[in-house]
Structure formats: structure tokens, C-alpha cells
């Protein structure tokens, strides 16, 4: 089993979710995060105090997936999330030992 974590621009969340639903992937967990990278931040001024803000709002989508779905999911996210501008985000993938559905106690691929 794999864990896949995608960091995307917030306003792309709905599109990505819809695209994943369309290929039958329903389960995911989403977190509001702030990202720092090559994308330039901005300046805010409050009564003369200028702050450079490097952290930009991003959304993190986490999914546990059976191995065979990973490639398709990556492609789907790529298609839905890309704007072509800097700051589009990343996907990270790693292997997990197990997944458990709390309600039923099911393990592994059954659980996600």
C-alpha cells in the first residue's frame, strides 16, 4: 500500500476532488497548510510596518491507496491541479505497512 500526499493551490481543490471521484477514488483527507518554495511571497503593510510573507496558502491532500492505483491517481492530480505557473505544488509517495478501517477493523487494501 502507498501513501500519497499532494500539495496544491487551494482554488484547485474542488477540481482535483472531482477528478478523483470520476476515477472512483473517494477517500481522502485534506489539510490547510502554508507553503514556502520558489513561488514569491508578497508584502503586507500595517501602519508602516512592512512584512514580507513567504508562506502562501496551500492545500494538502492525503490518500492511502492500493499500489496499482498510484500511477492513475498521480496522472489525474497532475491533470487537474496544474496551472503551469510556479507554485503548483508537489506529490510525495511512500510505502505504508498497513491501513485499518476503524468501523469494521478491516486491514490493508480493504480498508481504504
Amino acid at each position: 500500500m502507498k501513501k500519497l500526499e499532494a500539495i496544491i493551490k487551494p482554488f484547485k481543490l474542488n477540481e482535483v476532488k472531482q477528478a478523483l471521484h470520476d476515477i472512483g477514488v473517494l477517500g481522502m483527507t485534506v489539510t490547510e497548510v502554508k507553503g514556502c518554495g520558489r513561488q514569491k511571497g508578497h508584502t503586507e503593510i500595517y501602519r508602516g510596518s512592512e512584512y514580507t510573507v513567504d508562506f502562501l496558502p496551500k492545500v494538502k491532500i492525503e490518500m492511502a491507496l492500493p499500489d496499482h492505483l498510484v500511477e492513475q491517481v498521480v496522472e489525474t492530480i497532475e491533470k487537474a491541479a496544474v496551472t503551469g505557473k510556479i507554485g503548483d505544488g508537489k506529490i510525495f509517495i511512500w510505502t505504508i505497512d498497513d491501513a485499518i478501517r476503524l468501523r469494521t477493523g478491516e486491514h490493508g487494501d480493504q480498508a481504504v
Binding site: 482554488f11 474542488n14 508578497h42 508584502t43 503586507e44 503593510i45 500595517y46
Partner: protein, 466 residues
């Protein structure tokens, strides 16, 4: 709203925009000598009336801030809340400047049927402690001027709900300055100014009843809002992307303050603290109550649940709708007007907007425009001389006595006033937006800016931090 003895004012044809050019020279000359001593006419002033008018002026300013900025600010997305609030706040400054330089004079100076002489009260010269018996004989003219200024501030602020979340700030500022000059001030003169075309109390050819601003404030802003929404186009992502209000609590606080402030708006329009003020206060209250019931009731019937924002929207609809009628109808009639307001505005916001497919972000047209049109027309039938004896016996320009009591005759007068207001507002807004686009390059911010939000891109700020 007006003193009953009427004469058609002399007509001044000098183009009044030149007054603006005289601003800085005016600053210098208008300083002291030209203002009459404020205590000169103290004898005629009734402190009770003045206390009520000053309190009302304060209440009407409170409707703009914090009332309207909360109501509107809560309804947008969090990335646009400051920009939306700024749309109203900046008017507290800009409109006051215009009002001082030429606004009051164009609205309430003596002039022709369409606008007043911009030089008569240029820089508020001659607007001091002495009452102006044409308008309010028991308070300083300055009190009347202040009260009316608060109306000039909130009216363009209402429009801002239609262009929220996408208009360039520079373009907005230019637009409201032009709009006030071309639409608001003349309309104000026509309906309430001495000698105005629709001024029932002061010799208007078409006697239109509008106690506290159905045409001048709500229809003008509501219709202009619709045109703005159509010309600017929809917000990015609308209607696919969800755009729920970012903070309904803010809008509910705003609703409460609007209701309370509206007592000043309507009951203050009696211009004294007598029984007519009380009657307008009562009509205002009961209409708001009724409209909340009918809006929330329709949701309960049609959707299975009454929403809190629905009840609040009904309140505002009831308040906008009763505004022109508040000084002319009984409490049960006001309640009926409110019931109608809640139903009609609910349908405008849910069905009409979907059918016509425009993005009036905060439903200015559906609530203020549609509401006040409803109120103006119902008033045509419900205007009641028992409530306001002044309409029992008014005078046409030829001296013939007529009654403006509710009926088909007065309904047609009201219809004329409404139609004129719609036409003027729509046409002028359409033209002015083209002018503004020409002057500022574009009406909307760039797409990237729109998606980042107005707060950051127009003002360099974020509303919420740690």
C-alpha cells in the same frame, strides 16, 4: 419630508461642475466671515427636535459603519473582506467632501426641477445655525444638511455589494464620485429639493410620495447595482465554485445595527420629534418584522428549514421596502408591506437572479431594488391621510388642491417616479461605467489578483492573522 408651502424655485443654468474647481479657493474664503453665527436663530430651534435629528444623523452614519460594512463584509470570502468594507468606508470620506463642496447645494439649493444651484451653498456657505424653513423649520439648517449627508454616504455604498470581490479600487472610486454627481444629487433634488420635479410638497409636476428614500436611495442604488453586475460580469468561478459567506455572524451583527439605524433613517426623516416620527418608527419596525417572517417562512415551506441568513435578509428587505412608505402608512399596512417584501425579494434573489443569470454578489438589486419598487407601488394604494395629514390636501403648481391618498391616481404617480428612477439609474450607470473603463483601463482586477483576493492586491493587507 418637506415643508408644505411651495414655490417653484428659480432655475440656475450655470454648469455646476465648475464649483468643484473652486474648492481650494473656497477653502480660503469660506473660512469664517461667510458663515452666519450659529446662535442667531436659536429662538426658533426646538432642542427636542434637534436632539432627535442629530441622533438620527448619527444612527444613519452607523448604518454605513459599522452596519453595512458588517453586513456586506460577512457575506464575501475572507480574502475580500477588507476590500469590501473599504468600499463603504471610503465613501464616508469622499461623499462628505462632495457634499461640502457642491453636493448639498445641488441637492437642496434652489434651482430648476432637476438640480439645485451648486453655488448657493458652495462650501456649505450660509448653512449654519439658522433653520431653513423650506425644509425643517425647528432645527439648524446645518442639522438638516448633516442628516441628508448621511443618506448620500450610504446610497453608493449599497451599490458596492454588486461589484464586490472583483472591481478595481481605483475604478470604484472614480465610479462612485461620478455616480453621485450624475445620479444621486439630481435625483435627491427632484424628489426632496425645493421645486424638484417629483416633490409633492414643493410644487413638483409629478407628486411622488417617497418619505425616506425609496427612489432616491434604494431603487437608484439597486438598479445601478444590477447594471454594474451585468457590465462587470461574474466573479471567477461563479456559480460553480462555492462562495459561501465567510462569516455569517458579522452579517447578523450588521443586520441588527441596520435595523436600529433605520429608525434614524426613517423616523429621522420626519425632521422633528413629533408624532410623525413615532409613526415612521413604528412602520419601520413592523415591516422588518413581517418580512423576516415571510422570507424565513418561504424557506421553511420550500426548503424544509428556515435559514438564519434568510431571516436576516428578510429584515433588510422589509426595511428597504418600507422606507418610502414609512411616513404614510398605518402599522397593519406596514406589516402587510413587510410580508410582501419578504416574499417578493426572496423570489428575486433565488429565482430571478438564476433566470437572468447575473452575479449581483450581495443581492443589492434583489433586496434593495426589487424591495423598494414594491414599497413605492404599494404605497400608491396604502398612503393614508389619517397617518400623515399633510397629504390630505396638497397643492399642484396651478394652485389646484389635490389629495395624495392611496388610490389609482397616486399609484400612477408612484409608477412614474419609479420608472424615471429606473431609467435614469440604468442609463447613467451604463454610460459612467464605460467612461470609467476608459479612464482606468479596466473595471476589474486581473484574474490572478481576483484569485488572491482584493485585500492583498488592492490594499496590501490581510484581515485575519494570528
Amino acid at each position: 419630508m418637506q415643508n408644505r408651502r411651495a414655490r417653484l424655485g428659480r432655475s440656475y443654468n450655470r454648469f455646476w461642475l465648475l464649483a468643484a474647481g473652486m474648492f481650494f479657493s473656497g477653502l480660503a474664503v469660506a473660512d469664517s466671515s461667510v458663515t452666519p453665527p450659529v446662535n442667531a436663530a436659536a429662538a426658533a430651534i426646538n432642542p427636542g427636535d434637534n436632539a432627535w435629528l442629530l441622533a438620527s444623523a448619527a444612527l444613519v452614519l452607523m448604518m454605513t459603519a459599522p452596519g453595512l460594512i458588517l453586513f456586506y463584509g460577512g457575506l464575501v470570502r475572507s480574502k475580500n473582506v477588507l476590500g469590501t468594507m473599504m468600499h463603504s468606508l471610503i465613501l464616508m470620506a469622499l461623499m462628505s467632501l462632495i457634499w461640502m463642496v457642491y453636493g448639498y447645494s445641488v441637492a437642496f439649493g434652489e434651482g430648476n426641477a432637476f438640480f439645485g444651484n451648486p453655488l448657493q451653498y458652495f462650501m456649505l456657505n450660509h448653512v449654519g445655525g439658522a433653520p431653513n424653513p423650506d425644509y425643517a423649520p425647528t432645527v439648524p439648517q446645518q442639522s438638516f444638511m448633516l442628516f441628508q449627508m448621511m443618506f448620500a454616504i450610504i446610497t453608493p455604498a449599497l451599490i458596492s455589494g454588486a461589484i464586490a470581490e472583483r472591481m478595481k479600487f481605483k475604478a470604484y472610486v472614480l465610479f462612485v464620485v461620478l455616480w453621485t454627481t450624475v445620479v444621486y444629487l439630481p435625483l435627491c433634488h427632484m424628489v426632496w429639493g425645493k421645486g424638484g420635479l417629483f416633490n409633492w410638497a414643493a410644487g413638483g409636476k409629478v407628486p411622488v410620495l417617497d418619505f425616506a428614500g425609496g427612489t432616491v436611495v434604494h431603487i437608484s442604488s439597486g438598479v445601478s447595482a444590477l447594471v454594474c453586475a451585468l457590465v462587470l460580469g461574474k466573479r471567477l468561478g461563479y456559480p460553480h465554485e462555492p462562495m459561501p459567506p465567510h462569516n455569517v455572524v458579522l452579517s447578523l451583527i450588521g443586520t441588527g445595527l441596520l435595523w436600529v439605524g433605520w429608525f434614524g433613517f426613517n423616523a429621522g426623516s420626519a425632521l422633528n420629534a413629533g408624532a410623525l416620527a413615532t409613526s415612521a418608527f413604528a412602520a419601520t419596525h413592523f415591516s422588518a418584522a413581517a418580512a423576516a417572517l415571510s422570507w424565513a417562512g418561504m424557506e421553511w415551506l420550500l426548503k424544509g428549514r428556515p435559514s438564519v441568513l434568510g431571516a436576516a435578509s428578510g429584515m433588510v428587505a422589509g426595511l428597504a421596502t418600507i422606507t418610502p412608505a414609512s411616513g404614510f402608512v398605518t402599522v397593519p399596512a406596514a406589516f402587510m408591506i413587510g410580508l410582501a417584501a419578504g416574499g417578493v425579494c426572496y423570489l428575486a434573489v433565488t429565482k430571478l437572479k438564476a433566470a437572468w443569470n447575473y452575479d449581483d454578489s450581495l443581492d443589492v438589486f434583489g433586496v434593495h431594488g426589487v424591495g423598494s419598487i414594491t414599497g413605492m407601488l404599494l404605497l400608491g394604494f396604502l398612503a393614508n391621510p389619517a397617518v400623515n395629514p399633510a397629504i390630505a390636501d396638497t397643492f399642484e403648481a396651478d394652485g389646484r388642491a389635490v389629495s395624495l391618498a392611496g388610490g389609482v391616481h397616486q399609484f400612477l404617480n408612484q409608477l412614474a417616479g419609479v420608472a424615471f428612477t429606473i431609467a435614469l439609474s440604468a442609463a447613467a450607470t451604463f454610460v459612467l461605467l464605460r467612461v470609467v473603463r476608459g479612464a482606468t483601463g479596466s473595471l476589474r482586477v486581473a484574474e490572478e489578483e481576483e484569485s488572491l483576493g482584493l485585500d492583498l492586491t488592492q490594499h496590501g493587507e490581510k484581515a485575519y492573522n494570528d
